[in-house]
Amino acid sequence: MRKSQIDYILKIRLPITIFVVLVSYVIAFFVSRPERDGVGYSPNQPVAFSHKLHAGNMQIDCKYCHIGVDKGAFASVPSTDVCMNCHTIARKDKPEIIKLTQFYLDNKPIQWKRVHRLGDFAYFNHAVHVNKGIDCKYCHGEVEKMEKIQQVQRFTMGACLDCHRKPHEKMPELAGVVNKGPEFCGACHR
């Protein structure tokens, strides 16, 4: 009687329990990997633009291209004519610039691969954050060191609230400058 019960536990219950625990672990592990939220995503772009060169080496201000970042909800990807401000003269012989010029001359808008994306049900506003003095890097990483743009942060509600709740822990240089961010639903969802 007793023996059979242990037998039963060992033969049936234990493997099932181990299996369930294992499966849950595996699922939880895979689902919660940062990659699942897009961290590390770095697609090839139609024109191999280097942020490292432009923002890093040449130190062009982000706002020179991303003109909407302190004015509206969207930072905005620059229109091709912004590139052409320089590249009608600069580096005209490089293959990527020839590609770029061709897009411009054909009047064909460039279809940049989207790297950072929030859910459609969340409304984020760049201007509010940037004008408070919050650096781009807290969400977008050290763009000036990236040859090819890459997602480094999760774009989840948890990630947003992390900063909203403990801004000074995350951004020590802004202690005393910014308060806590809003936490009520309507701030982002409508």
Binding site: P109, G119, A127, G186, H189
Partner: protein, 1020 residues
């Protein structure tokens, strides 16, 4: 306060039966089983299988990164555009003859919202519901996109070149044969287009222009021309009138420049200026929105207007002769003419309240020079003459204001009669229809429709399909108002410009452009634009004596949308009293009459293809998607009719079958129906909507107006389902009814009672609550609705629909009580059903501080924000509907379907209609709850602007969509913590109350109790 209010007949007659309806949130139909076939083709099992599969795929993680799509920036960014920032352009509405100034909001180059242009002197920033919802027609997938020609009775698609060569061929052949070219159009207010047509007539001298308006008040125009010979046409300036008396006129909703009328009417309905509170008597046969807003509304038979006016005139002439200020009256003549009319006898014979009529006469004499007598457009010639005469007797012509006049003189009905004759004689070579629908709009006995087959070329320039298209030989698509240039002149001082805000979606030309091509012989996309600028440079720019260059002047006018030149002085018109002599006043006969009225929301039937407009409930009956014959309760009982029974109307051997709807306050033996419905060719949305009373009309409208006398009504033993929302979302006033006073949903009094401190609001503002008090600091949003000003026009509903992506659900769903409007207007009646008092109340989410909906949500999808908003988080909602069940105001709406997909086979998911959505508001899917958000997207925008600029947010920066649209400015929104804000003033006003105050849920919407300017019984 003990008055009993009711919304529909069952409630009055059989309160027990409606108790359940009021106590529950959902009626049985609302929650009954779905028709599974209408759902997505995805069964629960399949769904489970798919979820399991996707989970499996997800866990094995074959791919970490999903494609996130692309970002497509401009190649060359236009100046002054920034993705995510709205641009506003001034333009002009071409929906009707009022030509209101518009301010069109565009996002990323597509118009998404339209409001009035505050700079425009006529509409001052407000537009009607039609103007609000017209934007749907811009993106309407059923607009004409191609050119068509009928060859051998078969429609063929042709290109523009082929169309135009046919067009020129038609013109030339007519010209060579000396045949007439008839151009039929709506009234033309555009000076540049009038000039083009003039040039067209020079090139083709046989061309003639005919213009008309839907249900044009021919008798009224004729009466004016005869009574004031040689004078311009004027309108009443209601802001100058302290006493208004209307006779079957719906001047607040359908007649004349009603947006302006609403504004001027309510300007004297300010509870803070009670000494200047206007008084309004309405005599009418049907219960109209205008009558619903009257202080005294007297239902009378349409045939009684003329004897009544005559008796009032006689009473004034006889009893108050000495007090008359107008000394130029031919008194003896008039006295003789009206001597046989006696107000006393008339009141006695027709069961009218004699004391009330005496008071009216007294008020008229007291308010000489400050009153307005308004006769309705549907009335016959004689009534208008008498109305003008009464105005003249009372010296009211100083209250006149200019009425905009068309540049090309409007045609009379006889012009169309002679046109039909010319066609029948084969002397018309071509008919050009400019964006109108004469086949549908004219009385059948003119024979216009049949005659068209005799014309070799009938060329219709149309936006979308209509009846006239069927009788045409060629159809050309034309651009929508928002894709077109245009200029408009009111005939006196105001010029306004229309500018395109989007490239023509279907590569169409505007009609002016096509006509101009025929005149000039050369075509380009912007030929009319260039012509317009040339015209303005030559004709209008010199008039301004402007010091700046033309280009600068042009862009500044384009920016403002309107140019006001020196106002011309109004000359008092000289009456010709001999006209009165000539009219033959018939004595009153109580026969069955049917009045054909203008519809509230579809204009001339053109907007019958606009789902938004069809779904706005009728202001009185709350009927959607239909028209009906309004009948009084007494008549219905005597004919054994119930709402929905189909009757046959027989008028001079013309027949109409339509359902009846019992409306309280309709006069006996008087029926009315709204026209514009029952169109045969109105696309998917408009087909089979309503019944067409135009079949009853005849040439007689020229003199008799739109009141048809001696009709026969017969009951047919069939019924029809009318989708009325009147029983939906009825507030529960049954609770405690016998123990306590009524729950005070409507609280109202009289001006007199309020001044004598006899009227007080019943308040139940206890501070005891089981919910711990939450302290609000900073901005806290609140709304106040002034019921003295709200006239119930429905502009707020239309505006809310457009702003908040509210879907159209269709008639079948309205029948089940699933309409999705976030704001509704409740109509309450009180008193006897023969002549009830009407109280209107806009109802929307009250954003209660202790909101009952929040406590019951199991997933906290609805909760409170620190600025006092009751938030609704769609992505969190699982659709239990507990919140809706617990909402005493019944303002929460559940997406029983993905209505965009469900309505008319995914109509709202069709190509172009996606562009209509407001990108700042989530498009809700099936299974989530939604409700008014106080336009949180606008609040957030204002807060973001303040934050970006590093300043405090001010409550006055935010305007909700309903507030912005309200022509009466009855809705006030703002920060209640700001002691200087308007909303905090009204919140603490003596007349302010909350609906269901005793529930102690602390709503944030304050209603300002309505005061009626009437005598109250029992006041000393």
């Amino acid at each position: 306060m003990d008055k009993k209010y009711w919304k529909f007949f069952d409630e009055l007659k059989n309160p027990q039966k409606t108790k359940k309806l009021k106590q529950t949130e959902f009626s049985k139909e609302t929650t009954s089983e779905f028709n599974v076939e209408n759902l997505y083709g995805l069964s629960r099992r399949k769904f489970m299988a798919l979820t399991a599969a996707s989970l499996a795929f997800a866990t094995t993680a074959c791919k970490d990164y999903r494609d996130k799509g692309v970002i497509v920036p401009y190649n060359q960014k236009p100046e002054n555009t920034l993705p995510g920032k709205a641009n506003y352009y001034a333009s002009t509405c071409t929906g009707c003859s009022n030509h209101c100034g518009l301010l069109i909001k565009t996002r990323e180059g597509r118009p998404i919202k339209v409001d009035g242009n505050p700079e425009h002197p006529s509409n001052k920033g407000k537009i009607c519901p039609i103007g609000q919802a017209r934007i749907l027609n811009l993106y309407h997938p059923e607009r004409y996109k191609k050119y068509f020609a009928k060859r051998n009775n078969v429609w063929q698609e042709i290109d523009f070149a082929a169309f135009f060569s046919d067009f020129v061929l038609a013109l030339n052949s007519a010209q060579q044969q000396g045949k007439e070219i008839a151009i039929i159009s709506k009234p033309i207010y555009s000076p540049s287009f009038a000039r083009i047509l003039e040039d067209f007539q020079k090139k083709y001298p046989t061309a003639k222009i005919y213009t008309y308006e839907f249900l044009q008040p021919y008798p009224k125009d004729l009466a004016w021309e005869n009574f004031y010979p040689g004078s311009e046409k004027f309108d009443y300036d209601l802001s100058q009138a302290s006493l208004i008396v209307s006779f079957d006129s719906n001047f607040l909703a359908t007649e004349g420049n009603f947006v302006q009328n609403i504004r001027s009417f309510v300007s004297n309905r300010n509870v803070n200026k009670l000494d200047n509170f206007n008084k309004f008597y309405a005599f009418e046969s049907d219960l109209t929105l205008t009558g619903a807003n009257a202080d005294h509304r007297i239902p009378i038979h349409p045939n009684l207007h003329i004897p009544l006016l005559s008796s009032i005139i006689n009473e004034i002439l006889v009893k108050h002769e000495g007090k008359l200020l107008n000394k130029d009256l031919p008194l003896s003549l008039l006295k003789e003419k009206f001597s046989k009319f006696n107000l006393d006898a008339l009141a006695k014979d027709n069961n009218l309240n004699y004391n009330l009529l005496q008071r009216l006469v007294y008020d008229l004499v007291q308010n000489q020079g400050k009153s307005a007598i308004i006769t309705g457009d549907i009335l016959p010639y004689d009534a208008h003459v008498l109305g003008f005469l009464l105005n003249e007797i009372l010296n009211n012509s100083s209250n006149f204001k200019f009425k905009s006049k068309a540049i090309i003189a409007q045609s009379k009905l006889e012009d169309f009669l002679s046109l039909t004759n010319t066609i029948k004689n084969g002397n018309v070579g071509a008919v050009i229809v400019l964006s109108c629908n004469p086949v549908f709009h004219f009385p059948l006995d003119i024979g216009f429709k049949e005659s068209l087959s005799k014309v070799p070329f009938v060329i219709s320039l149309l936006e979308s399909e209509n009846e006239t298209a069927n009788y045409s030989t060629h159809i050309a698509p034309i651009s929508h108002n928002f894709e077109s240039w245009g200029d408009f002149f009111d005939g006196y001082s105001t010029y306004s410009l229309a500018q395109p805000v989007i490239e023509p979606i279907f590569s169409t030309y505007q009609m002016e452009s096509i006509i101009l091509y025929a005149v000039e012989g050369k075509m380009s996309n912007d030929n009319y634009h260039k012509y317009l600028m040339r015209y303005w440079e030559k004709e209008i720019y010199p008039k301004t004596n402007s010091a700046v260059a033309f280009e600068q002047f042009w862009f500044s006018v384009l920016h403002d949308g309107v140019l006001v030149l020196n106002e011309s002085q109004l000359t008092k018109p000289k009456p010709d009293f001999s006209v009165v002599q000539k009219i033959n006043i018939k004595s009153f006969e109580k026969t069955w009459t049917l009045s054909v009225r203008k519809p509230y929301f579809i204009l001339d039937g053109e907007y019958l293809n606009n789902g938004w407009l069809l779904e706005i409930p009728h202001p009185i009956s709350k009927v959607t998607w239909d028209n009906y014959i309004a009948i009084s309760e007494k008549d219905a009982n005597s004919l054994n009719l119930k709402t929905g029974d189909i009757v046959q109307i027989d008028y001079q051997n013309k027949f109409l079958e339509a359902p009846v709807f019992i409306i309280p306050g309709v006069a006996e033996h008087s029926l009315s129906i709204e026209a514009g419905f029952g169109r045969e060719n109105a696309g998917i949305i408009g087909e089979k909507v309503g019944f067409n009373p135009m079949v009853l009309l005849s040439k007689g409208i020229e003199y008799n107006g739109y009141t048809l006398d001696n009709v026969k009504i017969t009951k047919l033993h069939r019924t029809y389902k009318i989708a009325s929302t009147v029983e939906h979302h009825s507030l529960n006033d049954t609770f405690l009814k016998d123990l306590h006073k009524s729950r005070g949903i409507i609280q109202e009094g009289t001006v007199e009672g309020f001044l004598k401190n006899k009227f007080e609001i019943h308040r139940h503002r206890d501070n005891i609550s089981i919910i711990p008090e939450i302290k609000y600091t900073g901005v806290k949003w609140a709304m106040a609705i002034d019921l003295n000003k709200c006239i119930g026009c429905g502009a707020c509903i239309a505006s809310c629909n457009v702003e908040n992506n509210v879907p159209v659900v269709g008639k079948d769903q309205v029948l089940r009580g699933r309409e999705m409007h976030w704001i509704r207007i409740d109509t309450y009646f009180s008193g006897s059903p023969d002549n009830p008092e009407v109280s209107l109340q806009p109802m929307l989410c009250q954003h209660c501080d202790d909101a009952p909906c929040e406590n019951v949500c199991p997933v906290v999808a609805t909760n409170h924000s620190p600025d006092g908003l009751n938030q609704m988080v769609y992505n969190r909602c699982v659709g239990t509907r507990y919140c809706s069940n617990n909402c005493p105001y019944k303002v929460r709406r559940f997406n029983f379907y993905d209505f965009r997909n469900h309505f008319a086979n995914g109509f709202f998911y069709r190509d172009t209609l996606k562009l209509l959505n407001n990108p700042e508001v989530t498009v809700r899917s099936r299974g989530v709850m939604e409700k008014c958000t106080f336009c949180i997207q606008r609040i957030t925008e204002a807060r973001h602007n303040a934050l970006s600029e590093g300043r405090e947010l001010k409550g006055s920066e935010v305007k909700t969509a309903c507030q912005e649209a309200c022509p009466a400015e009855a809705i006030i929104f703002g920060d209640m913590h700001d002691p200087n804000s308007e909303v905090s003033f009204w919140r603490n006003h003596k007349l302010g109350y909350y609906v269901f105050e005793e529930l102690n849920i602390k709503p944030n919407v304050t209603y300002i109790a309505k005061l009626r300017n009437k005598k109250e019984e029992g006041l000393s």
